[in-house]
Amino acid sequence: MRKILFSLMAAAAALSSPAVFAADKTLTVYTYESFTSEWGPGTKVAEAFEKTCACKVEYVSVADGVELLTRLKLEGASSKADVVLGLDTNLITEAKATGYFAPHGLDVSAVKVPGGFSDDVFVPYDYAHFAVIYDTETVKNPPKSLKELVEGDPNEKIVIEDPRTSTPGLGLLLWVKSVYGDQSAAAWAKLKDRVLTVTPGWSEAYGLFTKGEAPMVFSYTTSPAYHMVAENTERYQAAAFSEGHYIQIEVAGMTKSSHDPELAKSFLAFVTGPEFQSIIPTTNWMMPVAAGKEPLPDAFGKLVSPEKTFLMSPDEVAANRKAWVDEWLSSMSLN
């Protein structure tokens, strides 16, 4: 059995390398799965870019942003990625520490992200604020601040994600830290009574929420846009918090090992351009960072747009993440 397996592998390996790069130029983009899924922006983005470059866009997609970084670390400098699209700001420090990314050298002054993020290596391509989404049929008085969420009726439950395993989970952790600072542990101990359960990822949490198991879930301000555009319902809404909202910004960067840096650079310019920015909202369900070709769908105008944005620097997050997660663990494990 093993022999057969190995000879098949050897045969497959022999067939692989040559001939692929024969005709056109190829741009290899590493991204996450939902970007290239049938509903995601991947196909449209590739088609639009291919018109401008006489090249072919090839995606390699892994589960999510964190796994994207893992894959790069495993591959090292031999990675065939030209562009990596789908990390978020919290991963930037670690991504830079690998030494595999090259500065983009682009003028990104047209890019507008709340909180004013800019970086010489990574280009933001979309963002969304984190938010508590509630079911208007069961929640009559949604919390108006993080404080109200923490101190509210413990029988009105919320499902949150685990910061050890998921990006939104880490987002909530940082949000609480931004608002409560040294008092975070106490805030978590109080919020704990309101937490129905902590799921490993966003999908489980949102699944429980839409099943009606909990009236609130931790998600994004853009979540109601999906329900309005695709399902024609205003039942699920985001709660606006008076302290402000923490933001998630998704970024793209080009690798040092790229075999065609000019092409990679033009792709990075493309992702902040009007065409890409028009595709993003209703495929990735995130906010655009620059003006699109067409105006945003109406539903996006109805979304909560926070007056104040929280964003910690990537370095601060990288330096403190472990300690903060430990603090979260001990507050949430108290009885």
Binding site: M1, R2, L5, M9, A12, A13, S17, Y30, E33, S34, T36, S37, E38, W39, G40, V60, S61, V62, V66, T70, R71, K73, L74, G76, S78, E94, A97, T98, G99, N155, K157, D162, R164, T165, L170, L196, T197, V198, P200, S203, E204, Y206, G207, L208, T210, K211, G212, E213, A214, S223, Y226, H227, A230, W285, R321, K322, D326, L329, M332, S333
Partner: protein, 555 residues
């Protein structure tokens, strides 16, 4: 006219066959060890930037270890405790209405991805579930919450009670028909029958089943987090996943995996020492007819036990069915993406299940052949115990470790994505191995005890024996192992997300993908489809009653 070899001719043939059998077992075991070892080694040697430093076995690790052991021991104990009466009742009532379907559906939970099962369980036991709705109409103000240890236990019993029941039932059905006849002639009561006939048949199975369930519960991840209510409920597997994801710390990943394997291995070894082996018995192949439990109260009690057990397993499945029916099934059924995912899933499941049954038969035969001499040499005993332990502990190797390790190993050979199907097939085969082993080892042991001497003295060649002796009586357990392995493989999300191969979309992968892009209804529909495919497989694995009777007549 049958030609019987001369005894002096058949002796060397038998010896060569033994050598081949043992060699096949050694080869399979070595292959598995190599597959795991290479992956772990590659990951450990990986020259990776930004590895965090710090002690590996800190207070956090001890806390999750304690909780892992606590919930796994309780889950295992409860699953087996409830499975025994259910298996006894099912064995006593071969003509219970719908029995074959109950037995078939018992194989279904294994085939469901954890997320689907969690949502199904919540439909019944959750705050808005059937149970709480019942309670609130009875006047209860606040819903009873299952989140916490109770939720984890319910989920684990839901997954493992059916498993234990199927394995125990198979053991009970191997009891020779003569036993029941003699039991009745001797006027044995309920307790005596249990003590003298049923218990000896199942006690030898319990350590194996308990070990399997313990491992499944110890490595449980999504269910523990989702139903555990908070991070106080975390398993070592969560720490492993965490260490590989956000922290990306391969040495820690390997150390935690070893901790998980060592702890469980120790527990399993103790469990095995404490239990006597099963007693094998001869039979003339008399049809099994039960004379016990024919009075009204006994029938009523058995019926109650079966309905309770079946209800516990079937209600969450019904909840999956109901939410699936609310989705747009027609659109899903005509979606080419779904067709591709279904084909991919089936291809992977069938390949890995086939491999799994072959490898298991090789391992089991080698172990039993090695132990056959009255005083097996030390090397033979070593091989036998390596096979028994290796084939079960393999379940404890986190698939993420295998995925990441083989990614590193295959990277020099070009595009890793093209290797993904092979790796998935082998990983799924390995994960199903302990199940197939649990089914086939006792079945083959019983079969060999009953037939081996006779077929050897008849000098039957390998092919003739397969056709005339082994085939007919091992077909059922082999099919059962095959369908279990298929179901397991179908529900598996695959450890190769890292490989980034877009062409290899499986049904669970598509389900998660739809779920992750707000398409919850689609995900529910896909869960239903996955369930239906599993049901089809269990029909293969559990032939109907009519067939059983034909088999009995044929003998």
């Amino acid at each position: 006219m049958a030609v019987v070899d001369e005894p002096e001719l058949s002796r060397p043939v038998v010896l060569t066959e033994r050598k081949i059998t043992i060699a096949a077992g050694v080869f399979s075991l070595g292959g598995i060890a190599l597959f795991v070892g290479l992956a772990a080694f590659a990951l450990l040697l990986a020259d990776v930037a930004g590895v965090s430093e710090g002690r590996i076995f800190d207070a956090y690790v001890w806390r999750v270890t304690r909780f892992t052991l606590l919930q796994a021991v309780l889950s295992t104990f409860l699953s087996i405790l409830f499975a025994i009466p259910l298996a006894l009742a099912l064995a006593r009532r071969p003509r219970f209405p719908g029995r074959v379907w109950i037995v078939r559906l018992l194989a279904l939970p294994l085939g469901l991805p954890a997320l689907v099962a969690a949502l199904g369980l919540i439909g019944i036991w959750g705050r808005q579930g059937v149970m709480n709705t019942l309670l609130s109409t009875l006047g209860l103000a606040q819903p009873v919450s299952i989140y916490g240890l109770s939720g984890i236990l319910i989920a684990h019993v839901f997954f493992n009670l059916p498993l234990a029941t199927r394995f125990l039932l198979a053991g009970l059905e191997r009891i020779p028909g003569e036993y029941w006849l003699i039991g009745t002639n001797l006027g044995m009561g309920r307790l005596s029958l249990f003590r003298l006939i049923e218990w000896p048949a199942i006690r030898g199975l319990i350590p194996g089943i308990a070990g399997l369930i313990f491992m499944l519960c110890a490595t449980s991840f999504t269910l523990v987090l989702t139903l555990g209510g908070g991070p106080a409920a975390s398993t070592i597997e969560v720490a492993i996943y965490q260490a590989l994801r956000f922290d990306f710390d391969p040495p820690r990943v390997i150390a935690l995996s070893l901790l998980q394997i060592a702890l469980t291995g120790l527990l399993l070894a103790v469990a095995r020492l404490l239990t006597p082996p099963a007693a094998e018995a001869m039979t003339t192949g008399r049809p099994v007819v039960r004379f016990d439990g024919r009075d009204g109260p006994a029938k009523l009690l058995d019926g109650f036990v079966i309905l309770l057990g079946a209800g516990f397993v079937l209600l969450p499945l019904a909840s999956v069915l109901v939410s699936g029916l609310q989705s747009n099934l027609l659109r899903l059924a005509t979606d080419p993406m779904v067709h591709r995912a279904l084909a991919t899933s089936l291809a992977i499941a069938l390949c890995s299940a086939f491999l799994c049954v072959l490898v298991t038969i090789a391992l089991v035969s080698a172990r039993q052949t090695a132990l056959r001499p009255r005083r097996p040499p030390i090397a033979a005993r070593g091989l036998a115990s390596a096979i028994a332990n290796g084939s079960s502990l393999v379940l404890l190797v986190p698939p993420v470790v295998l995925g990441a390790g083989w990614f590193l190993l295959l990277q020099p050979f070009g595009d890793v994505a093209r290797f993904a199907p092979f790796i998935v097939v082998v990983i799924n085969m390995m994960m199903a191995l302990p199940f197939a082993y649990g089914i086939l080892d006792p079945a083959i042991a019983t079969h060999r005890a009953r037939t081996l001497r006779l077929s050897e003295s008849l000098g039957l060649g390998f092919l003739d024996r397969l056709r005339l002796i082994d085939g007919p009586s091992l077909r059922r357990p082999a099919l059962m192992a095959f369908s279990f392995a298929c179901a397991l493989s179908l529900g598996d999300l695959g450890a190769v997300a890292l490989f980034g191969s877009q062409d290899m979309v499986t049904l669970p992968y598509l389900l998660y993908s739809r779920m992750g892009s707000y398409r919850t209804a689609d995900a529910a529909g896909l869960a239903l489809m996955l369930g239906l495919v599993c049901v089809l497989l269990t029909i293969i694995g559990t032939p109907g009653e009519r067939k059983v009777e034909e088999d009995a007549d044929a003998r």
